[in-house]
């Protein structure tokens, strides 16, 4: 027991978890847009001096403090740079944007036309005073002899999926799907046996999303379609260490399947049984080894693997549970470039 440790207990406050807007990070280092070097003006203001207006040239005291922080050549270059710029431009300048300078500040897909946002509001909706909700259009009478060709089954499926998952149809079509298991199953009734085809599929985007789905139907094609649809619908984010392996070793048990997963170093490859390998491809894991003990039933192996991936304990969660601060030393020593 050390005497200093009780003090450490007192100051074990959890630092706020800095996150990029709309992004889920699995690391402790702040997002790149939050890391910024202070400008010379900020250095001066942090020293307690009153900040001169942006357009005013540096005063003698400010120059002195700059000399303390920068080498003579740097100060010379700084002053030369400021001299070269028109003072009027200082009023107009804004902070340099980090990351993609042409990126939009919001998430959108400009390749598709949004039925509401991309059209100017029609006038008749707001004609009458006091009505805030647009009137509905009166449905026209359709010619019974003209039938419109309905979209094929796949396209309606993607449309439905897009509505359910909130993903773009384009993204859904780019998903990797694999049919993992098919076999026939029978239901014994007093009328006789009813045979059906069972299918199990997995879907993933190759970048941290994975889902499994099951389907059952008299027609095998139908069962496969059902399974694929359910796999895409069930996709959920799976935490990955450095986007290539898992967080620590994981043990999982589901029915008679027992499984051990091991995190592996970069370049190791996915040395697993074929079913786990395929799922890793869909998920985007490149370094992993697994040991499946006891039952190796493909359907249950797939379900157990999914369960194991979801039961990973993240270092962040462990640290939070123990009330301790977690720092990734590599992110500190290499300037967050790792």
């Amino acid at each position: 027991m050390s005497v200093t440790r009780p003090l450490a207990r007192l100051r074990s406050a959890v630092t706020p978890f800095l996150q990029a807007p709309g992004a889920r990070t699995f690391t402790t280092s702040p997002a790149s847009h939050l890391r910024r070097r202070p400008s010379p003006r900020e250095i001066i203001s942090s020293m307690g001096r009153e900040l001169a207006p942006e357009t005013a040239p540096y005063t003698e005291t400010e120059l002195e403090s700059l000399r303390r922080h920068f080498s003579p050549e740097q100060v010379q270059a700084l002053l030369a740079g400021e001299k070269a710029i028109d003072r009027h431009d200082f009023e107009l300048r804004s902070e340099r944007r980090r990351g993609d300078p042409w990126g939009l500040s919001y998430v959108t897909d400009l390749s598709t036309i949004d039925p509401i946002l991309d059209f100017a509001p029609t006038k008749h909706g707001f004609e009458a005073e006091g009505i805030t909700v647009p009137k509905r259009n009166v449905p026209g009478i359709q010619d019974p002899y003209v039938t419109f060709q309905d979209d094929d089954a796949d396209s309606t499926l993607f449309k439905k999926l897009a509505q359910r998952t909130g993903m773009q149809e384009k993204d859904l079509k780019g998903l990797q799907t694999r049919l993992m298991v098919t076999h026939s199953v029978t239901n014994q009734t007093r009328m006789g046996k009813i045979r059906k085809i069972y299918a199990l599929a997995v879907a993933g985007n190759g970048n941290g999303l994975l889902g499994i789905g099951e389907g059952k139907s008299v027609e095998s094609e139908d069962a496969i379609r059902q399974a694929t649809y359910m796999a895409m619908r069930n996709m959920e984010p799976i935490p990955r260490y450095e986007g290539r392996t898992i967080f620590g070793n994981v043990k999982a048990k589901n029915g008679a399947v027992e499984m051990e997963l091991f995190a592996r170093p970069p370049g190791y490859g996915v040395r697993c049984s074929s079913h786990i390998f395929e799922m890793c491809r869909c998920l985007g894991i490149s370094d992993l080894s697994a040991r499946v003990t006891r039952s190796r039933n493909p359907m249950n192996v797939i379900k157990t693997f999914m369960q194991a991936l979801k039961s990973q304990k993240l270092p962040e969660t462990i640290a939070r549970g123990r009330g301790r601060k977690l720092v990734d030393a590599r992110k500190v020593y290499y300037g967050g470039s790792v």
Binding site: M1, S2, P6, S12, P315, T317, G321, R324
Partner: protein
């Protein structure tokens, strides 16, 4: 240093975590007290209180010849994210086979490599050592460049 008692404490804490208990008691011995304080420092348990078999003390009661048999340590268990913070705890040294290690081997273990029969630590795992200068967590022992007897590993 009775490892038999420590083994019972390890199993007891695992069982309590599985049963989602908030408060439990363990025998009040010097070794167990030191390890429990170590656990509290690492954040595995929330509190360590003196007490008797009837419950934690509300005011200080000295241990005497008369009450020593009924003395207990009361521990507050922690849960986060619907999971126990302390989920696994097991002996490394056994009553029949005790394990001692120097700093070099301890270094290996902390890195996650195995040394001898002892497997490396997994992420978030802690290992407690009994040394001639007290009970330490393995990382602290390495910092002080001292080895010792491996007592238990906690996760």
């Amino acid at each position: 240093m009775s490892l038999v008692n420590l083994a019972a404490v390890c199993s007891h804490l695992q069982n309590c975590s599985k049963a989602r208990l908030g408060l439990t008691s363990v025998p009040a011995s010097g070794l167990i007290l030191k390890i429990m304080l170590g656990l509290q420092d690492q954040g595995f348990i929330s509190s360590v209180t003196r007490g008797s078999t009837s419950g934690p003390d509300t005011e200080f009661i000295p241990t005497t010849q008369e009450n020593v048999a009924s003395r207990r340590l009361w521990l507050g268990l922690k849960y986060y994210d619907n999971e126990p913070v302390l989920s696994e705890m097991s002996l490394v040294s056994k009553p029949k086979q005790r394990v001692w290690m120097g700093v070099q081997d301890l270094n290996k273990i902390v890195k996650g490599e195995s040394a001898g029969y002892v497997k490396g630590l997994r992420p978030g795992e802690c290992l407690f050592l009994g040394t001639d200068r007290g009970v330490f967590e393995v990382r602290e022992a390495i910092e002080r460049r001292i080895g010792g007897q491996l007592l238990c590993r906690v996760r």
